[in-house]
């Protein structure tokens, strides 16, 4: 039973769900910690995915694809920063707008530049190479899982760990936490919180761009309209549930990924596809409910139950 967890479907769900969601959620968490409520992750990812395919196709190189994906994500982040940080627009409304723009722009450019609608698949799209680690590869069960994954899998894990250390020990990490927690306190110490938030947004753009690249040019090498399919929202839930802390975020995203791999498997039992596709969303909703309820109970315990 346990062994079956490590079958190929798990590896597939890692690349299809876990890594994109982890990268995007890390970006969202960095924004959250710096005090930017960014729920435009969905829009960031889809632009990243499209730009990755575009770059990889035109230049015949996966690295250019990765670079374009990051540039696309940063472009969205700059829009967010311009309208939220500089023009003081409400972050939720800005997010809604950017999600629409992300969906619209990727679909529009798919037809306008690549001349197809729906799906773009071409041999010219170079994919990110997978990395094989000799020693780990030969381990039972986990070997297949920890080796032979896409470059971005390893990058995302390292990024999470680095982020953890960064918040605890690095000067900018402290400043970014302060920007999110008591921004006027940071201002009074002579550091501009907006600058920290801009930095956070830019990093988020890079990470979401990479999340998109993982979707489109890591295993499959194609772009589909609306291919982010709600992953950005699952990432938002992961950010909310983990409170933006990197390590819990890591665990949570792997949990969601695990549920997705189960859903891939139960399709084999003849369950209708709609019921299995829904599982990751239900899992994230459930996690959100559990954590929200815990917070509510804690509130009741410390502040008393409010009758309303």
């Amino acid at each position: 039973m346990i062994a079956s967890l490590f079958d190929p479907s798990f590896a597939e769900s890692i690349s299809r769900m876990t890594v994109p969601i982890l990268l995007a959620a890390l970006g969202g968490a960095i924004c959250q910690r710096a005090g930017v409520f960014n729920i435009a992750l969905e829009g960031f990812i889809i632009i990243g995915a499209f730009m990755a395919v575009l770059g990889s196709y035109f230049f015949g190189s996966a690295s250019v694809g990765l670079f374009c994906a990051m540039a696309g994500g940063v472009f969205m982040a700059l829009l967010f920063a311009e309208f939220h940080l500089r023009r003081a627009g409400d972050p939720i409304i800005v997010s809604i707008a950017l999600n629409l723009i992300g969906f619209g722009l990727s679909t529009y450019l798919l037809r306008a530049i690549l001349g197809v609608s729906g799906v773009f698949q071409h041999d010219g799209i170079k994919k990110i190479s997978n990395i094989h680690i000799p020693l780990i590869e030969s381990l039972p069960y986990v070997g297949k899982l920890l080796s032979g994954q896409s470059l971005l899998f390893y990058f995302s894990i390292i990024a999470v760990l680095f982020c953890h250390a960064f918040y605890a020990k690095h000067r900018l990490g402290l400043w970014m936490r302060a920007a999110g927690e008591n921004a006027s306190g940071l201002t009074s110490l002579g550091v501009s919180p907006k600058r920290m938030q801009f930095f956070a947004l830019t990093v988020c753009g890079v990470l979401c761009g990479l999340a998109g690249a993982q979707l489109s040019i890591s295993n499959v090498g194609l772009f589909v309209e609306n291919m982010s399919a709600g992953r950005g929202w699952i990432a938002v839930v992961a950010v909310l549930v983990s409170g933006g802390r990197p390590l819990p975020l890591l665990g949570l995203v792997f949990l969601f990924g695990g549920v997705d791999s189960m859903s891939l498997r139960v399709q084999g039992f003849g369950w209708p596809q709609q019921f299995t596709e829904i599982l990751p969303y239900l899992a994230s909703l459930l996690a959100l409910i559990i954590v929200s309820y815990k917070r509510l109970r804690k509130d009741w315990a410390t502040k008393g139950i409010k009758i309303t």
Partner: protein, 353 residues
């Protein structure tokens, strides 16, 4: 309160003018990327938004506007009550599915059947919205994420039903059977426009009365301004919250029912999701800054934008998603204009006293 000086008005006007210039510039860049003939595209846009033989396109713009205005009302009522309900899509889908089911299987025909189907759709939409409200009140789930996450189950459930138990297998498509002709919304005589928009206008009048003239609307608005204020004043805020969401959801359900009974005459997988009715409705409500009467012109504007874009796709080969992009850009500018006071539940923004 300071008087409006000419300087302030002109400042305001320049602000808007600059926004318009940006939108225009973005459109030009997009058209250039699509390698489209500029004049031809513009011509196609206006013709398909307002023209056509016997104004056929204008009528289809109106029919689209009805659905958008409906979704905008749904969003607006929730926003005014302090609930950032962005789950209109889910409420719309369950409403449409429920009304199609009622029309197909309840065995009631004719005008009574229409009423029953509409009411079933409204009830389903209300339940879906209240679900998010209950999660907020008793489980602490934020309304924003709660409503949004419920979109996906709604989508998948609807998709399952039209692919499996309710499927019209003979048609070969993921869709239900055609509903009985006696339950199609009648057309306006001499045109191909269905009466759905009249239903929506009726709902609009009720919404105006609700917002401005009723105790319930007043209490909901006060709760939206500040939930602490409402609680301290002794308003039953849970009841008001659930009522607000129920009204919001039921309007979304009604829109679903109108799309089924008037437009498609069956439920087709994705028919309510792909045209982005719900998101356009939300965007419309945001554009008018919660001013109820203004959603009619704003809804017509966005409907024209979408119809025009569809026409540009047919005639000038410009992808119709240009409408979605422009919609997003417009909302970016609206969000950052100083008049936007849309999310009142946020921290009170006031200069220190």
């Amino acid at each position: 309160m300071r008087k409006l000086s000419i300087k302030r008005i002109s400042l305001h006007a320049t602000g808007w003018l600059i926004s318009f210039l940006w939108v225009g510039l973005a459109s030009a860049v997009l058209l250039f990327l699509a390698d489209a003939d500029f004049i031809n595209s513009l011509h196609a846009f206006f013709k398909s938004a307002f023209g056509g033989r016997k104004f056929a396109y204008l009528l289809s713009t109106i029919s689209r506007a009805a659905l958008i205005i409906g979704m905008a009302m749904s969003a607006l009522i929730a926003f005014r009550g302090g609930f950032f309900n962005i789950g209109g899509e889910g409420q719309l889908v369950v409403g449409g599915l429920a009304s199609a089911t009622a029309a197909l299987y309840f065995g009631i025909m004719g005008p009574l059947g229409i009423i029953v189907a509409c009411l079933t759709g409204m009830a389903a939409g209300a339940v879906w919205a209240v679900l998010a409200g209950a999660m907020r009140i008793w489980l602490g789930v934020p309304i924003l994420v709660g409503t949004l996450l419920l979109n996906y189950p709604a989508r998948f459930i609807a998709s399952y039903f039209v692919n499996h138990p309710l499927r019209d297998i003979a048609s070969g498509m993921p869709q239900t059977h055609l509903i009985d002709k006696s339950m199609w919304l009648p057309l306006i005589p001499g045109t191909r426009l269905d009466t759905g928009f009249i239903l929506i206008l009726g709902a609009f009048v009720l919404v105006l009365i609700y917002c401005h003239r009723t105790v319930a609307g007043y209490q909901a608005r006060m709760t939206g301004y500040s939930i602490n204020f409402a609680a301290a004043a002794g308003l039953p805020i849970h009841q008001i919250s659930l009522r607000t969401l129920a009204i919001s959801g039921s309007i979304a359900g009604l829109v679903g029912a109108i799309a089924v009974l008037g437009l498609h005459h069956r439920f087709v997988d994705g028919m309510l999701v792909q045209p982005l009715y719900a998101w356009t409705g939300i965007v419309t409500a945001l554009l008018v800054n919660l001013l109820p009467w203004a959603i009619v012109p704003a809804g017509l504007f966005f409907a024209a934008l979408h119809s025009g874009a569809a026409g540009m796709e047919r005639i000038a080969d410009v992808p119709k998603e240009i409408a979605v992009i422009l919609q997003g850009i417009i909302i970016l500018f609206v969000a950052s204009s100083k008049t936007a006071d849309i999310r009142q539940n946020g921290p009170a923004k006031e200069k220190s006293e």
